[in-house]
Symmetry: D2
Subunit: 349 residues, 4 copies
Amino acid sequence: MLRFENDYSEGCFQEILDEFIKTNMEQTPGYRLDKYCEDAANKIKKACHSENIDVHFLVGGTQANMTVLDAILRPHQGVISPLLGHINVHEAGAIEGRGHKVIAISSGKKLDEEAKLSSESLDLYLTDFFNIGDWHKAQPGAVYISQPTERGALYTKNELIAIKSVCNKFNLPLYLDGARLSYALACDENDVQLEDLAKYTDIFYIGGTKCGAMFGEAICFCNEKFNRDFHCIAKHNGAVIAKGRLLGIQFGVLFSNDLYVDKSRDAYKFAIRIKKAFERKGINFISNSYTNQQFPILTKSQQELIRNNDISFNIECSIDEEKDATRFCTNWATKEEAIKKLEKIISNL
Amino acid sequence: MLRFENDYSEGCFQEILDEFIKTNMEQTPGYRLDKYCEDAANKIKKACHSENIDVHFLVGGTQANMTVLDAILRPHQGVISPLLGHINVHEAGAIEGRGHKVIAISSGKKLDEEAKLSSESLDLYLTDFFNIGDWHKAQPGAVYISQPTERGALYTKNELIAIKSVCNKFNLPLYLDGARLSYALACDENDVQLEDLAKYTDIFYIGGTKCGAMFGEAICFCNEKFNRDFHCIAKHNGAVIAKGRLLGIQFGVLFSNDLYVDKSRDAYKFAIRIKKAFERKGINFISNSYTNQQFPILTKSQQELIRNNDISFNIECSIDEEKDATRFCTNWATKEEAIKKLEKIISNL
Amino acid sequence: MLRFENDYSEGCFQEILDEFIKTNMEQTPGYRLDKYCEDAANKIKKACHSENIDVHFLVGGTQANMTVLDAILRPHQGVISPLLGHINVHEAGAIEGRGHKVIAISSGKKLDEEAKLSSESLDLYLTDFFNIGDWHKAQPGAVYISQPTERGALYTKNELIAIKSVCNKFNLPLYLDGARLSYALACDENDVQLEDLAKYTDIFYIGGTKCGAMFGEAICFCNEKFNRDFHCIAKHNGAVIAKGRLLGIQFGVLFSNDLYVDKSRDAYKFAIRIKKAFERKGINFISNSYTNQQFPILTKSQQELIRNNDISFNIECSIDEEKDATRFCTNWATKEEAIKKLEKIISNL
Amino acid sequence: MLRFENDYSEGCFQEILDEFIKTNMEQTPGYRLDKYCEDAANKIKKACHSENIDVHFLVGGTQANMTVLDAILRPHQGVISPLLGHINVHEAGAIEGRGHKVIAISSGKKLDEEAKLSSESLDLYLTDFFNIGDWHKAQPGAVYISQPTERGALYTKNELIAIKSVCNKFNLPLYLDGARLSYALACDENDVQLEDLAKYTDIFYIGGTKCGAMFGEAICFCNEKFNRDFHCIAKHNGAVIAKGRLLGIQFGVLFSNDLYVDKSRDAYKFAIRIKKAFERKGINFISNSYTNQQFPILTKSQQELIRNNDISFNIECSIDEEKDATRFCTNWATKEEAIKKLEKIISNL
């Protein structure tokens, strides 16, 4: 079977395995106090063109979001998120499990585009909120966005700056979820670089799990107001692994020789080929994605045809009784032959 | 100043004060083990035409919602609520503070009517949810509605039965917030009686604070699956008062001689008079309320004119730069002369 | 029956009822924005000889502890408490329910005296803790003590100063639970006045529920670092009552004409008479109490004899198969005739 | 430097790396739905001689404890633990972070032996608790023990049966933390086998992280009352990794060819050699450990001497100004030459 259902079907870059083998019997201190974590942090800081970043490594995306928001929100505060933000939809209530409301705000667009926050709707919401000043409501304490968004779109640099500017106006930190960041960075249309994230967010994380690591996310605190006691807060969240070096080793590899972005370039191109293959058949998408996830709207019989060719994909959401929005993902491990096969199947729909 | 800003501006029924005075130096056991709580519970069961109700008394509405939902939800479960449900909007994230997502679902109506849940949209949401069966999402664990709704509307008996029937289909308890229940029961259009709540909900609470008590809400468990250890869970939530009899005494009075509903009848009539006064001026409402809260949409200058007459009211939400939806409340203590004065002011807008 | 089982068997001071009656039909703003809350806060500040106190009113003791600690602790922090501290023993895990460990430390005394924290054991614990600097442990974020203690003892002014000094050394706020504060203030042996609490704690609360109010506790923030957003955090904890003036009215009365302390003086004297009555029979105590709770150790047959005289009391804890430590309480409402009757019964044990 | 400071200084069994390499580019479904997780679960069930176990894989020990207890406790319940239980001491309040009190009970022994729970003290505590029936206290909802204990001791089979019998008497599940289980199973004195854990606990976990895996713990639900919705609850706790197969692969290897226990046998022997080396010098221990952690009490100068030989170890706790209890760990990766060097250094103390 060829799996396009998600972007974590395989293991990791061979280079990471090699490094695991090489270092396996070395003894290092536990948690994060080893040279590999230090080295990886330094490489990330260099890639971000900034010395003033505090880098922490956690295991997964939901864990990262839960722990960061636990650290930066006060008890009565919630976090603003687009309607389709991962924290609002796909984390089994993990943020609420830490006591915080996810304040989902609409951008006033069609629901299918609601994964993206507009600075205008954010400004409108916050202006209204603080004008009335209602302490009966969960108070906004942070703003959450994802790059790329959960539907594959990208914030432009100008959009990012505009959102950050609204955040500054209301004195709220901006937190960016980069679970699939490598696929944004590898995209031709993208104009937001790592150094921009370091400049225009307060905290962001660089996704490893979906971008070539076995597991792991690198949390970058760009604002020294927010990282206080983070390691202990992570422990409190069950989010610290004993052999912290495993994370250091992986991110050390990801950020050597430009591997992090380079290995995503094919995934990007392959995704665009899938997109075009569906477009050629006149098939619509629930979202105009520029990255490694594509969301064509397929009839039940189209779905069946594809599945009968031993191709797996996901149902993103139901459209009507006849049709669903589906998800096809590529990743760093996708091979061209798989794309060719899929293109052919699509052409026969 | 005449206050129409809320329905808790005054103290309580004189009959309650009388009873406090009469019983003041009696000694009773603490918490809820006194004869007054027992007596009040019996009166409520009688009013509900049911012996199989377990009645508990808490101090306030947010506390009641927080504690009940803490008791009936498992960690990963959320509670379904209309978009404008009190728990979703006005409780400072108290439900999330207990770890549970408020899953706000739209009824597909205009936003201003979103305080009411339709059985159709509930069914649609739940059918979709369990068809896909996504354990990455907060799982629905209960359904929350309010009677009257936060915007003054009423569920009909048929609507209530339809919602309960969807709940049964998906094996979810239905919890009804009756913060202003007396005003629903006093309304001519209403066809949902206490005995219907006992039949068609799993848990509901009878509001005291806004309906004539100093404070207090009577939580009625109509389904024995849900009240287990409730008293300890309340203590765990800081929601148990030492002198529990204060609640028993109050609800004992509220449920004597039909006071609970009778004293709300004027409030209902007065609210309708306010409604008609605004209608006569061609003023629109954000919601078609049948109960003691009315939500006329007023221009800034209309608002100023009213305030200049020493009348207070609330801003419910902003409509545009010129206009806000406002809130005018009556309650058990409202006097006809106040209504006459307000009618006159409105007529001069 | 004569109840000595607790100190909340009756209603409240008659003066409070009078004020409720007088103000009942007045209209005031909700929550805490009324003149009665303002007036009561001013009276408390005056009684504390300090202008720099921010006073908030909540309904009960567990609620007060839970809300204050939720407000002042960060997620990974716990609160240090004596082994027998109310938050560690009698609050159904409410502090833990807010995510925080109660770090119970022993004073190295007999278990029965463990309600009191010694500055030495506190210093030892904190010195050890921060010397090793273990972020795998819940971090101390505040220190909790009670005056009088849960076993009726008193901190002297010097002891309080010593504890505060240790807190300062480790930069931890000191929070004092005054659930029964009036009985400490009414005690001849006591040398800690309200103004000392204002000076040597960061936050303390003045108990109303057990000291003459129907319900209510006045939380005094003496350090401006800790009260930020407290009202919203209280709402988040379901701890805000709509008719906030009820609390203002009660504390306004309590702090008029020295009623708060004056009405506890008899309770103190009566408690000492009970103590002496037991001592005359050679009966031991689990704790040497100076205040309104006395803890004689009684055999099962002694207990039965007392109960047979229609006297109620509590079991504090089991001593062995033959004996329990019991609790006899007096309060502001206790009458001399009750004490005389109890003395007589004790003399016949 | 030779590290004896903990048992997670190295990577993992070479056999695990080999399997990672072999499977790296295979595509599998996410989370836990792959054949490797299924295979590992089957091997574990076989090793436990039981078909009726539901096996789940999580990443780390604190995460496992936090998630299991979140799943099995109701909101007002706490978990009973020995004073030195890992959840009570070393998890940064993670259990409390989920809302639950850790009810630490003493076995009435010297503090240094308090890592072990005795069935007698458990019975005494629970009998007292439920005799008095105090709903003001956090309610016991589960019992937690560790095999081996945090101080290296072992429960005998009879002790385990006795504890389980007390749990049954009070209808409480028994949860056993096996973070270092392989070292218990490899110990000559041990008479508790995997099949006994399956019989006499309700839930236990098989530690991977410290026993040869890179990371990972296998949670075994032996009682079908407790695993309901566990996967979603894990997601809610941020405890699910996308590439679940990584855990399946590792436990598949650990439970092939008896590797799990076999590779711990040397660690056990080496630990006993360290123990004897200290004993020969007349050095005392804070605990009589039979497993891979040894806790000699060393003077500051002894510590310095050892450190000067480039040996690292941990401080377990302070004894007095001159002495600390230290911790020396062996693990599956310890080499005999390291032990020889350490023996020699010790002999020169």
